[in-house]
């Protein structure tokens, strides 16, 4: 999956501008696809493919900002570079806060666009790796029994085996066995590694933070 060529998706309702931007990005060596509206993009985009979106803010139908907001909920969201004819500061702040890579105004300078696209693709690559990693941790975590999960939570909270045994009402020996089981299932060899795995899990899931 990570080996697939990243695709730059250009969404703009102005045919001629879209064609020009596509052409430029293609000349810069990118794989490019253009869409006249947010709806077209959502329907036609390939799933789980690396890439980024160059998005016009004002379009008939859902606007670029609407698309961004909807995107945030998706698993395979792509980084967004906004391109607008008349952006104002509140709008750009809102877009950046919501995770946009850049907010460019038309007519756009070539270097600015190419840089923004490159960094968007980079971010996508990073995000994608992180997402893949957290996906592995998650599936390891899913193999834990409820008892083991409770022990995991208390271990990463820095509790000693004896304390855990006391809290869970089990013998220290039983806790030790659970702990070994957790370390093995989470494929870690040390406590710090386990703590980091717990942190990563928290970031990507709704797991309770390790205190």
């Amino acid at each position: 999956m990570t080996s697939a060529t990243p695709i730059v998706h250009v969404v703009d309702d102005d045919d001629s501008l879209r064609a020009a931007v596509c052409r430029l990005l293609r000349a810069a060596g990118h794989e490019v696809r253009g869409y006249p509206s947010a709806g077209d993009f959502l329907l036609a985009r390939p799933k789980n493919t690396p890439g980024c979106v160059v998005l016009d803010v004002h379009m008939p139908g859902p606007s670029g900002l609407d698309l961004q907001a909807g995107f945030a909920d998706l698993d395979d969201a792509l980084p967004i570079v906004f391109l607008t004819g008349h952006g104002d500061i509140p709008m750009s702040v809102r877009a950046i806060k919501a995770g946009a890579v850049d907010f460019l105004t038309k007519p756009v300078q070539r270097d600015a666009l190419l840089t923004a696209v490159r960094s968007a693709l980079n971010r996508d690559a990073v995000d994608r790796t992180a997402r893949e990693k957290s996906g592995a941790l998650r599936s390891q975590f899913d193999t834990l029994t409820p008892r083991e999960r409770a022990v995991f939570a208390l271990v990463v909270a820095g509790k000693l085996n004896k304390q855990i045994a006391g809290e869970l009402g089990a013998s220290e020996r039983t806790i030790k066995a659970h702990r070994a089981q957790v370390m093995e299932k989470m494929r870690v060899t040390s406590l710090p590694e386990l703590v980091r795995a717990a942190e990563q899990l928290h970031e990507s899931t709704s797991l309770p933070a390790p205190v």
């Binding site: 001629s16 430029l24 293609r26 008349h86």
Partner: protein, 823 residues
């Protein structure tokens, strides 16, 4: 056949072949001659064997008088045959000599008839003049020419008694022609039918006369009294001859004279009657003198009496005619719808007609014989000088206006026009004066009303005649152009036209007088009048043709539009300012509209540059890019062009505008703005709308204003921001554009004030946009209004009068007639 059937008399004649008819005529004439000549032989006197009267001579004369010269040969032939036959075997004169004498007679008669024709005696008997022409021809010319040559031959051959024979022969021929010709001619002139009519009418009288004459003649001339016969007996037939002359005319007298001649000659030949006392040779002369003495005065008398009788009959006829005409004229005189009076030289009324009598309130008879001063005491001072003038100069005095005396209750306020014409007799002497009175009170009142209306109207009025001369102006006109009334009346209307337009104006005036219809002058063009000080005044002029008694006139109503032009200019300024403000609101959207193609151009250029670095460079793609760059450049300049058109400060320009096209163009302008505001614009354009006559930019401005207001009204709406634009033809035939928004609507108490200046519901609004929109729409003859929609939101709409096919044609036609730049 058809022709002859339709005319019975010619059918009768037509039954005879022309040759047969001619032969018959010849034979008939010859027979008549033969009979008459043989009768004459019985009356020959010794010793010269001459008679008193030679009747056969009249036969040829009558025939030549009645027949055309081309037919004379027929009678000539008859004459020769008759003469030869009559003298055949005669002892006194051999037939060859008689035939020779007939030749002379023919020449004599032909000459006599030609002379009479030459003298113009076409109808030889009927008036004194023609009779007087006939007498010398009959008594001198014909006898001399007939007998002269034979007498000459006898003289040359040394025959005895040349002179006495010559005198008797000449007198014999003269008497024959003189008496017999009128009798035959008048009897046969009207053909046998005329003779029959005459006999039927006076047959008894003629018969009676003839009988009386026969009896009287017998006792007078043939009673064998011998030498005892008294010469007084000669007077016996005279009363009968007078009777014939006075009652029966020339023909009867002549016939009677023929009878008397026959009787007297017979008496003389047989030695009876008063002429028996002399020897026969003398008696011929005696009888001949007697017959001349009787016949000439009687013939003259008959002709004169005939003439008198005809004159009297003609006079009676004329009188009848004149009486009829007089009756007609009298009826016209008394029933004429004008007053008529005839006044003699002492200014006494001789005649007045009923109309004038009614006008004066007195019976017509009461006027007669009175003086003008007695009958018209109040007006005598006014009208007497006119009468005197007519009487002194003999020239008419016409169209004198007389106003009713204020003191007279029946006449006060009335007005008449009087004309006096001299009446002269045939010799040119003045008999009196005829006066015609017409009442013109109504006309005066109408004129006065018209004058007052024109005078009091707030519009400047100029009335111009066909030649362009000013006939009437009102006080507003004096005021507008700065001239006194007197200075303008009679002047050419060109005085009021600025110099630069005068030439064209003359042509337009001619065009108008060719097809005069009421219409505004030079529709669609600016007109100027010229003030006395030379300054130009913007005006509007409407022309109305008037048919007046003095010829066609044109009424020009002139309205000073200086104020309106000033207001128009102010509105243009405001509209421009408002447009600038509107554009200000659209700045961001406009930037987007321009940035879009600019962005495409930049990116395309960048792409091309990068593509050219590759080797081999994809030239096809680069070419495509250049094509796209060109397209985008044009797109950007089109936006700028539209903007410039909207922002330019300009005069109102009227042209047919398709409202749907206009809406579509405005939609392009606000597209970016609606995207920016997240407003969905829905358009519903009714196809096939008639064009409106208007200024495109101003109408765009109105619609733009309404669209932006609509978007503004939905700024705080959380749901769908939908703006609808619809065009339609409404029931009044106006083209309507409605913009509906989905905002909160307008508070009902604010609705009526929305279009007032400086009234705004917006915090930052100046409150001018809608008031300017209203003034722009109203300048197009339209109406703008706002209302709340039942389902929420407000609807702003404006309607404009459609300029249909009709209006378009009219304005084109007017421009054609009136040409280009027209005052």
């Amino acid at each position: 056949m058809r022709h002859t059937e339709s005319v019975p008399t010619t059918r009768q004649a037509g039954n005879w072949h022309p040759v047969l008819r001619t032969v018959a005529t010849v034979l008939l004439f010859a027979a008549a001659y033969f009979v008459l000549q043989r009768l004459t032989f019985t009356l020959r006197f010794p010793p010269y064997q001459r008679t008193t009267i030679w009747a056969p001579g009249a036969l040829l004369f009558t025939a030549f008088l009645l027949a055309p010269p081309l037919r004379w040969w027929v009678y000539y032939t008859g004459l020769c045959i008759g003469v030869y036959a009559a003298y055949y075997g005669d002892t006194a004169i051999p037939e060859t000599s008689a035939l020779l004498a007939a030749q002379f007679h023919f020449v004599a008669v032909a000459s006599g008839v030609l002379v009479m024709r030459r003298l113009g005696a076409g109808a030889p008997f009927g008036n004194t003049a023609s009779l007087l022409a006939f007498v010398p021809v009959a008594t001198v010319l014909v006898p001399v020419l007939t007998t002269g040559p034979i007498d000459a031959m006898r003289f040359v051959s040394g025959a005895p008694d040349v002179w006495p024979v010559a005198v008797r022969s000449a007198l014999c021929v003269a008497l024959g022609v003189l008496i017999t010709t009128p009798a035959l001619t008048l009897t046969f002139a009207n053909g046998l039918a005329g003779l029959r009519t005459e006999i039927r009418r006076r047959g008894v009288e003629i018969a009676g006369l003839a009988a009386a004459l026969a009896v009287a003649g017998f006792f007078c001339f043939e009673w064998p009294a011998g030498a005892t016969a008294s010469p007084a007996l000669l007077c016996a037939p005279l009363p009968l001859l007078l009777w014939a002359a006075m009652r029966l005319g020339l023909a009867a007298v002549c016939w009677a004279l023929v009878v008397v001649a026959y009787q007297s000659t017979r008496g003389a030949v047989h030695g009876n009657g008063p002429f028996a006392s002399h020897p026969p040779a003398e008696m011929v002369l005696e009888v001949q003198f007697f017959l001349f003495a009787v016949s000439l005065p009687l013939m003259l008398l008959a002709t004169v009496i005939e003439e008198r009788r005809r004159a009297v009959a003609t006079l009676a006829e004329r009188e009848q005619e004149v009486r009829g005409q007089y009756a007609q004229l009298a009826t016209i005189y008394h029933t004429a719808p004008v007053g008529l009076a005839f006044v003699d030289l002492e200014l006494r009324l001789v005649n007045v007609n009923d109309f004038l009598a009614d006008l004066n309130g007195l019976p017509a008879e009461a006027h007669i014989g009175q003086t003008v001063r007695q009958i018209f005491p109040r007006y005598a001072d006014t009208i007497e000088p006119d009468y005197r003038h007519v009487i002194e100069t003999g020239h008419p005095v016409v169209n004198v206006e007389v106003h009713g005396a204020p003191a007279s209750p029946s006449a006060a306020g009335r007005c008449w026009v009087l004309s006096h014409y001299p009446v002269k007799d045939a010799a040119g002497a003045l008999l009196g004066v005829n006066t015609v009175v017409q009442e013109i009170t109504e006309r005066k009142r109408t004129e006065e009303r018209f004058r007052l209306v024109v005078e009091s109207t707030p519009t400047a009025v100029v009335i111009v005649d066909a030649a362009g001369k000013i006939v009437l102006i009102n006080s507003r006109c004096e005021q507008l152009f700065g001239y006194r009334r007197k200075a303008l009346l009679g002047q050419s209307v060109d005085v009021l036209v600025p110099e630069r337009f005068r030439r064209a104006h003359t042509g337009h005036r001619a065009a108008f007088s060719e097809s005069p219809t009421a219409r505004p002058m030079a529709a669609g063009h600016e007109l100027y009048g010229r003030h006395k000080d030379g300054s130009e005044i913007p005006v509007e002029i409407s022309l109305t043709p008037i048919q007046a008694a003095e010829g066609p006139l044109v009424l020009c109503a002139i309205v000073d539009v200086t104020e309106r032009k000033r207001a128009d200019e102010a509105r243009q300024e405001l509209a421009h300012a408002s447009r600038l403000a509107l554009m200000g609101e659209l700045t961001a959207s406009i930037a987007h509209e321009i940035n879009q193609p600019l962005g495409a151009i930049l990116s395309n250029a960048d792409a091309a540059e990068m593509l050219l670095e590759a080797s081999p460079a994809p030239l096809d793609e680069v070419r495509q890019i250049l094509e796209d760059i060109r397209k985008d450049d044009l797109r950007a300049s089109e936006v700028i062009r539209r903007l410039r058109a909207l922002l330019r400060k300009r005069e109102m320009e009227l042209q047919p505008v398709d409202v749907n096209d206009l809406t579509a163009e405005v939609m392009l302008l606000v597209r970016a703005e609606s995207l920016r505001r997240g407003v969905v614009v829905e358009t519903g354009l009714t196809p096939g709308l008639p064009p409106v006559r208007g200024d495109k930019v101003h109408l765009q401005q109105v619609l733009l204003n309404l669209l932006l207001n609509g978007m503004e009204a939905m700024a705080g709406v959380s749901g769908e921001k939908k703006l609808t634009v619809r065009t339609a033809l409404n029931s009044k035939g106006y083209v309507e554009v409605a913009v509906g928004d989905a905002g909160a609507g307008v508070a009902p108490d604010r609705l009526p004030r929305l279009f007032e200046p400086f009234f705004s519901t917006k915090a930052e609004g100046m409150g001018l946009g809608l008031s300017i929109a209203r003034s722009l729409v109203e300048a197009h003859g339209g109406r703008i209004r706002a209302e709340n929609a039942p389902r929420g939101g407000a609807v702003f709409s404006f309607e404009l009068p459609a300029c249909g096919e009709q209006a378009g044609r009219e304005s084109r036609a007017a421009e054609k007639v009136l040409g280009g730049a027209i005052p």
